[in-house]
């Protein structure tokens, strides 16, 4: 049996890893995006002020 078949439990193991990877990746992207937006907004406001 190959590695990818996971001893016959591939139908449960890969979705578990897939959902976890997806969830964590979305959290990472979301967090970084919000941070970049906040930085840009503050910079724009500071530049507007003398």
């Amino acid at each position: 049996m190959s590695f990818w078949q996971m001893g016959g439990y591939a139908d449960y193991i890969w979705p578990a890893y897939g959902v976890s990877a997806l969830g964590l990746l979305v959290a990472i992207v979301w967090t970084l995006k919000a941070y970049a937006d906040a930085k840009a907004r503050l910079k724009a406001l500071e530049e507007k002020k003398p």
């Binding site: 439990y9 449960y12 193991i13 578990a16 976890s20 969830g23 959290a27 906040a38 500071e46």
Partner: protein, 236 residues
């Protein structure tokens, strides 16, 4: 207490977290990659077969989910008793991450339960109290968004978080207090074989570091947003 006040002001937090972030981020990535490699090289468990690999992502997600709630409860206490504004920011920043890890704990547990128990879900004490944790997170986040005045929102949320903390010992001890389908604790009691324990510990470190990294970035985001709001108000 002195240490707390020294590092818990926004300016110091920005400096300290800025210095720490590259290290926690790199350590999180390394630990998770190492955990994956170690996790997928274990032999099949004599009862669970290869579904034992689901444990390496289920248990870390569940522990971070519970730990995050405990963190929010402690921060809420600080917020209520000492009125420290950064503790509100930190608690609020942690909540969506806690909710995500709770959801991941539920989904991965369910995907393990189906082949091992024959069902995706059962209303036993552990699963039910853990589902309640997800609802507590969602309620906490909804309450933050429902009250416009930030100081009032912070107080209401802190009280909710402290009441909800009653659920934490229930989750932890549910497997002892009641007859649960969910198995009992096997890490601290030393029942877990080292070949499975090591990948689990490494993965737990990875999940914990990832949480820490994202949490710090989220706190920084909120600090910057507050500065923006102050500038906008000042310029109006």
């Amino acid at each position: 207490m002195n240490i707390l006040y020294r590092y818990a002001n926004p300016r110091e937090f920005m400096r300290l977290s800025g210095a720490l972030l590259p290290f926690t981020a790199a350590a999180a990535v390394l630990a998770i990659l190492a955990g994956l490699v170690m996790g997928f090289s274990v032999p099949p468990d004599y009862q669970q077969g290869m579904t034992v690999t689901i444990m390496f992502i289920h248990v870390p997600a569940a522990i971070v989910a519970e730990g995050t709630y405990a963190l929010i409860a402690v921060l809420s206490l600080f917020s209520l008793v000492w009125r420290h504004p950064l503790s509100d920011v930190a608690a609020r920043a942690a909540a969506p991450l806690g909710a995500l890890f709770t959801a991941l704990g539920l989904v991965t547990g369910s995907l393990w339960g189906r082949p091992m128990w024959g069902t995706y879900w059962v209303w036993d004490a552990r699963l039910t109290s853990f589902l309640l944790l997800l609802f507590l997170y969602l309620g906490y986040m909804a309450l933050w968004n429902a009250i416009e005045d930030e100081i009032r929102a912070a107080r209401a949320c802190a009280i909710l978080a402290l009441i909800g903390a009653v659920n934490l010992p229930i989750i932890v001890y549910s497997v002892e207090w009641w007859n649960t389908l969910h198995q009992g604790e096997s890490i601290i009691s030393g029942k877990l074989a080292p070949v499975f324990l090591w990948p689990l510990l490494v993965m737990m470190a990875g999940y914990g570091l990832l949480f820490l990294t994202l949490w710090m970035i989220r706190i920084r985001t909120e600090i910057l947003n507050r500065r923006s709001r102050t500038l906008m108000l000042g310029g109006a």
